[in-house]
């Protein structure tokens, strides 16, 4: 019997509809309005970032947390091991001098030291660490000056065969000396180094390194450095690695010899490598993982809101987006044009098109040296250049007119009557950056400037070769302040604007040597005034970060300040009901 064609068509439509409906099904929203970006349980995080989601724990339980990259080796001092995910795992294994708390505060480690490390002399700069006698590696070996010397020698850059990720600070140390049976460590610097708190943040054991070679020689150090790549069979932290599959996961269990005040209650932590961030949310929904920490998107935000039994937060992170101008460009060398460009662009328009849909509290960033949540943040832009980044087209036109520019038939012309532009606007082509580019291209038409969108798949080369007129990318910030110098000093390795200023350079140079944190902050804010007036870089906003965890766990919270969400694994636990 022949089936009527009309019925066949109806069946086709019905079946397709069922499939579409299945794909689009969603669960009830349990967590509030579309503007809410922190669920109940994480709602305190904006005001109490260091203590939100706190609570008593019960003994036992396992947590599976997703990491966005596979761990290829365990040497986080190495250039190819210095990944966020590797640090996240090793946080529970390696003792360190200081931790960056979610609030941006730099906290000394009371599990390792008897008192806060002190600067006992400023000329030369001398720092004294007093190690607790209880602080031991899991084989009973005391954590002492030998470990400090070992980690210094690995990272001071004297041996070019040790492919260390960075030597900053360690190459300023002239000596590391022990006393009180090695429990007091005295570190001396040749020049003042303001970010000394960032040193010795992840101590590898000297006595383990000594098994690979004589660590008093370069050959032995090189062998020990390579040995650090392997899965650690030792620990000086609250947990120990017991299993590692290069492709899928790493497992940690509590260290029975842990000397810290806060004892782990979890039986096991599993870090699961889910390299496609879009697959982390379904895994959370299916309870194959219990926690995730990723860059958010609208889809992620909508998905998290729809989940039951999950706490989530989207908070401003320690990275920020900005537009840089290449002052070597013949037009962009002119301050008036740069000022007019930045006055014309509206950062709020950019935020509305990019982050607003899933991060409602996103705001324009007013500083080049501090993210909005950092200690020391001041909205310098609003004070010094209130038109900058606020879409003030009339003000921009006035600046141009006063400088001798004209706009004829929608085309900007310079003082000689020649056309200005076109200018290239380069970015890496992500969805958010493409949207930003659209805004910039459209808005700069208002002052007669043609801007062409250009995508680069090799940002590093583009920056190094100055193959841009305007460029959009992000910087990762830190509670440590001296790396800022390299961004803005004349000829700095990360200063891609080719701009320089003697007063700015002096402030930056003094800042890197200043040991008083408040004075450092003041110097950076003063330098920011100069930088802002120069209109070479326009900060847009802090980039958000998302954290989600099953609501059966406590003391797990986001930390974008540099120690990451695993900064306190010894405190993680299953909620006591």
């Amino acid at each position: 019997m022949r089936t009527p064609k009309r019925l066949t068509g109806l069946v086709a439509i019905a079946a397709a509809s069922l499939l579409v409906a299945g794909a689009c099904s969603s669960k009830a929203n349990n967590s509030g309005t579309t503007q809410q970006q922190n669920s109940f349980g994480y709602s305190e995080c904006p005001s109490k970032p260091d203590t939100c989601n706190s609570g008593p724990r019960k003994q036992g339980g396992t947590i599976i947390a997703a990491l966005g990259k596979k761990i290829q080796n365990f040497n986080i001092d190495a250039s190819d091991g210095n990944l966020v995910e590797s640090v996240e795992v090793m946080n529970a294994i390696l003792p360190g001098a200081y931790t960056f708390l979610p609030s941006g505060k730099i906290a000394w480690n009371p599990d390792l030291f008897t008192e806060e490390p002190k600067v006992t002399n400023t000329s030369p700069q001398t720092v004294v660490y007093k190690i607790r006698p209880e602080a031991k590696w899991d084989d009973g070996t005391a954590i002492n000056v030998d470990d400090f010397v070992y980690n210094w020698k690995l990272q001071d850059g004297h041996d070019k065969n040790i492919l260390v990720a960075g030597t900053t600070g360690y190459d300023d140390i002239t000596g590391v000396v022990g006393s009180d049976n090695g429990q007091t460590v005295t570190v001396t610097f040749k020049d003042p180094y303001s970010d000394w708190r960032g040193l010795f943040g992840s101590l590898y054991p000297a006595h383990i390194g000594a098994k690979a070679g004589d660590i008093k020689t370069d050959t032995g150090l090189e062998a020990a450095f390579k040995d650090m790549y392997k899965q650690p069979t030792w620990t000086g932290g609250a947990f120990k690695i017991t299993a590692y599959d290069k492709a899928t996961h790493v497992e940690l269990v509590p260290n029975p010899a842990w000397y810290g005040r806060d004892k782990p209650t979890l039986d096991k932590i599993v870090y699961q490598f889910i390299t496609d961030p879009k697959q982390q949310l379904p895994a959370l929904q299916n309870k194959e993982i219990n926690a995730l920490n990723v860059q958010p998107s609208k889809d992620l935000y909508d998905g998290l809101k729809a989940l039951n039994g999950v706490l989530y937060s989207i908070t401003a992170g320690y990275s920020w987006e900005h537009i840089d101008l290449n002052t070597k460009n013949k037009w962009l060398a002119d301050l008036a044009l740069r000022t007019a460009i930045f006055d014309t662009i509206s950062r709020q328009d950019i935020i509305d098109k990019t982050f607003k849909s899933y991060f409602p509290s996103a705001k324009p960033l007013g500083s080049h040296n501090f993210v909005s949540s950092a200690n020391g943040y001041k909205d310098i832009l609003s004070q010094v250049a209130p038109d900058q980044g606020n879409g003030k087209v009339d003000a921009a036109k006035k600046v141009l007119t006063d400088a001798g520019y004209t706009i004829v038939n929608g085309q900007l012309k310079d003082k000689t009557g020649a056309n200005v532009g076109p200018l290239s606007f380069v970015h890496t082509g992500t969805v958010a950056r493409a949207a930003t580019s659209e805004v910039v291209v459209q808005e700069l038409k208002q002052i007669g400037l043609t801007v062409t969108d250009k995508i680069t798949d090799d940002l590093s080369t583009t920056l190094q070769t100055e193959a841009f007129d305007m460029i959009l990318f992000g910087w990762g910030a830190s509670p440590l302040l001296s790396p800022n110098a390299d961004l803005w000093k004349t000829g700095g390795g990360n200063n891609f604007t080719q701009w320089g200023d003697a007063s700015s350079d002096k402030l930056l140079a003094d800042m890197t040597k200043e040991l008083d944190l408040n004075k450092q902050i003041q110097m950076l804010n003063d330098q920011d005034v100069i930088l802002t007036k120069a209109a070479v870089v326009m900060p847009i906003t802090d980039k958000p970060n998302a954290m989600a965890v099953s609501d059966t766990y406590v003391n797990i919270r986001d930390n974008t300040a540099g120690s990451y969400f695993t900064y306190n694994t010894q405190s993680w636990g299953v909620k006591q009901s």
Binding site: M1, R2, T3, T8, V11, A12, A15, A16, L19, G22, A23, S25, K27, T62, I64, K70, Q72, N73, S79, D80, G81, N82, G157, K160, N161, L163, V164, A165, G166, T167, T168, Y229, K246, A247, T248, H249, E251, V270, Q272, I274, T275, D276, Q279, P282, A283, Q285, N286, K287, E288, D458, S460, T461, F473, W475, G476, P483, D486, L487, G493, N494
Partner: protein, 336 residues
């Protein structure tokens, strides 16, 4: 047949050489792995580290020196080169492990899709213009129209919704009954039976996803091939002799109709490898697809080159197997 096989394998060598050169050239012009690796680091990586890394990756050598050095290492030492991700990673070991993972997935998907395609194609041809034929035609075109990533995501979400609807089926570790990531559980059951069930359950979604992509095209192909054979003279003669319909179908028609299918299936291996890239990304299987995506994202030239060469070898091998199967299926075919 042995001589034929050896001859075909030798003929594959120049093909693979050309493929290797193209793969090497493409990867060389596409990536600067060292720049990608150290991009945006603040503070910047020391210059010495960059130089040593470029040396490790042979980027301080000329193009042809790099190519012939790479080729020599593959031929003499089966060494696919260093990985940009870390000096601890061996591209060969990682790639070969990835092959075993993908082989499991692709084999299961191919077997299911071929068996289903042959079954439905044969029945559709035999019962041409019936409701069964129309239904299978509709299903075939429906799956042909669906992109692989959409099927995979749809299946995944469907499984999650199913798990949430039936929480009593949850596994002891609390996760849903049907797993959606990896080829096995991170914390697998201790007993052997539990582990086998764990492997099987992890295979379900990605296999269905890959099978559907292949089934659609193969079933249409089998139907056409079968129809052509069913209308041929020797099948008419077989019917006229009074043979039972089943005997005519299976012993006379099907064997001939399967010959074009072997060609189609061997070509499908290449398509399946491509589809596996998406499937493995969605389901987070650490197979060849995941390896390739990872290598591209990291600018890992040697990883990409190794993948392309290995994929090329698999496709060539698949074609040789298909050719050999012709002789098995059709006694008239003999190899000189």
């Amino acid at each position: 047949m042995f001589a034929y096989t050896i001859r075909r394998l030798l003929q594959a060598i120049p093909i693979l050489l050309v493929a290797s050169f193209i793969a090497f050239w493409l990867a060389s012009v596409s990536f600067d792995p060292v720049a990608t690796k150290f991009a945006g680091r603040n503070p910047p990586v020391p210059r010495q580290t960059i130089l040593l890394e470029r040396h490790r990756m042979h980027m301080d050598e000329g193009f042809f020196t790099q190519y012939f050095g790479w080729l020599k290492n593959i031929v003499l030492h089966a060494d696919f080169g260093p990985s940009i991700e870390s000096s601890t990673i061996n591209v060969r070991t990682t790639l070969l492990h990835a092959v075993t993972v993908t082989a499991r997935l692709v084999t299961a998907a191919l077997v299911i899709s071929v068996v289903l395609a042959v079954l439905t194609g044969v029945i559709s041809a035999y019962k041409q213009y019936t409701w069964f034929d129309y239904a299978m035609t509709f299903i075939g075109f429906l799956f042909l129209a669906m992109p692989a990533f959409w099927i995979a995501t749809l299946l995944k979400q469907g499984a999650i919704n199913f798990n949430e609807a039936f929480p009593s089926l949850n596994r002891p570790n609390g996760s849903g009954f049907i797993p959606t990531i990896y080829d096995r559980s991170t914390l697998p059951p201790a007993d052997f039976g539990g582990q086998m069930l764990d492997y099987f359950l992890h295979l379900v979604l990605p296999t269905i996803s890959l099978s559907l992509i292949n089934y659609a095209g193969l079933s249409r192909f089998q139907r056409s091939s079968m129809l052509e054979v069913l209308n041929s003279d020797y099948v008419r003669l077989a019917r006229a002799k009074g043979l039972r319909p089943r005997t005519v179908m299976v012993r006379h028609a099907l064997r001939t109709a399967l010959i074009p299918m072997t060609t189609a299936t061997s070509l499908t291996i290449a398509v399946t490898l491509g589809g596996a890239v998406i499937t493995e990304t969605v389901f987070q299987w650490r197979g060849m697809g995941d390896f390739l995506v990872n290598a591209i994202n990291n600018g890992d030239r040697f990883g990409v080159q190794g993948w392309l060469l290995l994929a090329g070898f698999i496709v060539v091998l698949g074609n040789i197997v298909a050719d050999l199967l012709y002789g098995v299926l059709d006694p008239r075919i003999r190899y000189a």
